[in-house]
Amino acid sequence: MGLKEKLHNIKEKGKGKKWAPAFGALHTFLYTPNDTTHSGGHVRAADDLKRTMTIVVLALIPCLIFGMFNTGYQHFQAFGEPVDFLSWDAFWIGFLKLLPLIIVSYVVGLGIEVLFAIIKGHEVEEGYFVTGMLVPLIVPVDIPLWMLAVAVVFGVVIGKEVFGGTGMNILNPALVIRAFLFFAYPTWMSGDKVWVTGAAERANQIIEGANLDAVSGETILGSLAQGTDLGYSVSDMFFGFIPGSVGETSTFLILLAGLFLIFTKVGSWRIMLSSVIGAIVMGLIFNSVVDFGWIQEGTKFYTLMNTPYWHHLLLGGFAFGIVFMATDPVTASQTTKGKWIYGFLIGFFSIMIRVFNPAYPEGVMLAILLMNVFAPTIDHYVVQGNVKRRLKRLKVKTA
């Protein structure tokens, strides 16, 4: 008897039992179920939820690998012993740092999914598959594991399960997790010590009296908010050799992933494009405020406003956010026109929050969460507008 058959027998035995959903999830994860309906005609589509999720995770893999290299690279850079970017040393440090994050994210998140599936008695949903991969990529690498676990519990329960599980959530769970961490443990989520692995530890050693040089690795956005320009080159920003959350630094790889998602029709190109347009419009507005001389050098928002509008597209988590999170099909607008409005406003607000609220340099997270809330409203008015237009047409005809 083959393994496949054995698993099937176990499944048959477990029908109606408490653990059946948990086993079913494992089973369908390993094998495509061979249970089919027997009557009537059916359309078979290959692009089911599992396939969609797998494609997004595939698109995330390059960012993850790059993140591992970059984690090590930034570490050695900051500690004054530079190594080659593509070196085994750099990769190994990043790998050891990231693996626990990934494991915690998946174990805790899937644990909760299974728990809820058992309580509610339905099949386990694949919804956490992508979220679990996104989470390690959008946090600072040195985040303590228990904090991540607490945040994942919060994000999955409050962000998703209370609304009825995958497909019913109004907020992107990965961003709920990040927002929770951001507001709950701000010292671990911002500042100049968290982005380079080992920097916080080194700071503690210095406090305790060790004779060492302080290490800092501020993000570009963080330092711009302070009014200083770190002077990274544009190619460093584009290819991602900069400090930041794990997977967000390389705009180049994110761009490739975005094209891949567009090509496979998993991500909406309308949302990505309109977000970029929105960000450019807001960036240009700020640039022209500077050009017109309405804001003086040395004042509060000058440095950020003076940043060329296209730099904003390369900085921080903007690219990562709009490619992987704004396009989340559950929480985004559903209508075509709605997607344009939704995306545009995400880009627009991201840059606005970034510039006007230096305490929250990562505007894209808050902008997407905000627009998640408004997405149903946008859809409602788009649909109503369509109804009104067609009614008018009907009246003209009958009149």
């Binding site: 228990w146 904090m147 209370v162 929770f180 507001f183 709950a184 443990y185 010292t187 671990w188």
Partner: protein
Amino acid sequence: MGLLSKKDAKLIKDPLADNNPITIQVLGICSALAITAELKASIVMSIAVLFVLGVGNVVISLLRNIIPPKIRIIVQLIVVAALVIIVDLVLKAFAYELSKTLSVFVGLIITNCIIMGRFEAFALANGPWRSFLDGIGNSLGYAVILIIVGFFRELLGSGTLLGFRVLGDPIEKTGVYAFGYENNGFMLLAPMALITVGIIIWVQRYKNTDLIEEH
């Protein structure tokens, strides 16, 4: 029943759980969000509401036959306002620091929907003794939720209870802080109070499915 008849006891028991003013009637949410970052403030607020609602219900009940219906809201407001001013002055005299923490929210007891709601719904139609019990019951129901929320917010947000460091010292790194635990700053922000109230509502309806509203 010795002290209270069954009907009277129900006046106290009902608002504690199955007809709770906050989780079932969804009244008084504003103050539940605003002042529950500390357990002490929650308790003092509960006592203040207990006093205002208990006495106010009796006063309105005594006056119920002579208040002209057209101006009853104004009369009710005057009664609440008078009682709230008493509370405010007492707090300022005997617990100045605390009255600063509660700041404007003592004054805002006037606008607490629970109070006007009980005046309108109960005190205007019932005798003083029953109105008194109803006032006590409802403010206790309010207090239960406030204290639960305040307990969790202070414990997880500041690591203290009533000002005592029950989890150890975060700066000296004693107690749980020695293991790398940190206070959750989000608990001190108002959104987390809303989520905590939401979780209480969730748990309560999960235990007693009769409470789930029809759509």
